[in-house]
Point group: C2
Chain length 293, copies 2
């Protein structure tokens, strides 16, 4: 779980079925562009909306398409521990190389509850687990002491969290000093992750790399070659994209972008609605201005 990990959408049709042909057409360009991993069933991959059968089809398709060339990491979050454990076992059986787990909740969870959930899931699988710390969605923020404790488990291997909006380098370094020898630390947030990556973070969990893998691969390569000026310049060029993602949510923008570049015609699960004609035009202009289409 290092390098550029792209989180593609899951293309659903009007009836909520996973369009596996369209999904293969979304995945193959990621492999061709040289991303380091594919994260299926992330937030952008609609995991929260999908049942076990739908999730199974997503993982099967991704594993078949990757053919072992790069790892496939599967999101296994759910409200109940029973569902999480079922999803985790099934993901392993279908060939996922790693699991991504967020402490999804309705009643916000307490530290002891999250700790037991992660240990129970990690005990039951033979694949590395990435802790998905996403306080904005889950209402739970992992403390350093909990991360430290979970890192002792042989199957808990990595941490994905939103890049901090301020002091990203200093905050990444402090966290890395504390747990970086035991957990691979990576960041989500296409706009904000750059500073943490420049400061040495191991992984970029990127939504828009699931649509435009080439541009993100170029930035990641520049970072790995310590050519930070090029990385910053390529990244800054996409400011119009970051702006529409903030306005409409990157989930909606990723679905619209996949439609625009004609890789699929995905339908977001209702009650989510397509962007209006005016908003779609804003997305198109942002992608043109970002030199992505």
């Amino acid at each position: 779980m290092r390098g550029l990990i792209a989180f593609p959408i899951t293309p659903l049709d009007n009836a909520g079925r996973v369009d596996t042909d369209a999904f293969a057409a979304i995945l193959e360009p990621l492999l061709q562009a040289g991303v380091d991993g594919i994260g299926v069933l992330g937030s952008t991959g609609s995991y929260a909306y999908l049942d076990a059968a739908q999730r199974g089809r997503v993982i099967e398709t991704a594993v078949a398409q990757a053919k072992g060339r790069i790892p496939v990491i599967a999101g296994v979050g759910a409200l109940t521990q029973a569902d999480v454990q079922h999803h985790a076992q099934k993901a392993c059986a279908l060939g996922a190389d790693g699991l991504l787990l967020a402490p999804v909740s309705y009643i916000p969870l307490r530290e002891v509850e999250v700790e037991r959930l992660f240990v129970a899931v990690a005990d039951g699988v033979g694949r590395p687990i990435c802790i998905y710390n996403n306080p904005g969605t889950t209402g739970f923020d992992f403390s350093e002491s909990l991360l430290s404790q979970l890192a002792e488990h042989p199957h808990i291997a990595a941490l994905k969290q939103p890049a901090p909006p301020h002091d990203a380098a200093a905050r990444h370094e402090a966290l890395a000093n504390h747990i970086g020898d035991r957990l691979q630390i990576g960041y989500s947030g296409d706009e904000l992750a750059l500073n943490a990556l420049v400061a040495g973070a191991r992984a970029w969990y990127s939504v828009m790399a699931g649509v435009f893998p080439g541009a993100f691969h170029q930035i990641m390569q520049a970072i790995e070659q310590a050519d930070y000026a090029s990385a910053r310049s390529c990244h800054a060029r996409m400011q119009p994209l970051w702006d529409v993602c903030r306005d409409y949510a990157s989930y909606r923008v990723a679905h619209e972008a996949i439609r625009l570049i004609e890789r699929a015609a995905p339908v977001m699960p209702a009650p989510l609605q397509p962007l209006s004609a005016h908003e779609r035009e804003s997305v198109r202009r942002a992608l043109v201005a970002s030199q992505l289409i």
Copy 2:
């Protein structure tokens, strides 16, 4: 949807099965105490954690126990519109007298999405719907203009929202002037609802009335008789209860209280864990100090 509406827990066993005998034992005291309605499958009733079959058993049990004496209102929220519509139709078929719907989300919803969801559900059912505005959980706050628009629908009849922590009377009166002729406005929040009720709100959606209906019925009667001094005095006596609810979440406290008074031995769905022995003792002391046990 007026008066005191009690929101009991759903007693689950270790295997996640709804214990219908225990549920009947929880419901009958509510009927005996004279509450005006029963809200099953609210947040406290674990709706978010339950599938269609479990929800069906809850509604069947409540309808059978109520025997038409007071209305049974059923929560029908879910992440996808397809699930919401399925739950709504099933709740009506099983005899629920009204539906409670929150705009549950993973990707936070936009106004147009919430509007279409509510209209689609309301079009498909012949029972009154109560809008459940719960921004803390859903990430969506209903604007007055959206409430006003939804109130035009013949099946959208009521609004349940958390009582505001400040200026409850003034805020209730402003809202009531705007939409009070078309939506019955009621409040949740056992501690904070009092001021809004004194200011004329029509309904109290209460978690702890699902455990201690007598004490809450007494307060509601005092309010209806304009004996606000008695209402405030009874309510203030329960300050120790409000305190533990703030510390541990009223969901956990309600489960522990039901266990303490030996009405059932409910198991919260994992990853939720029972309170520690020390915390359980704090709940017991709070209930004693509140003169509830």
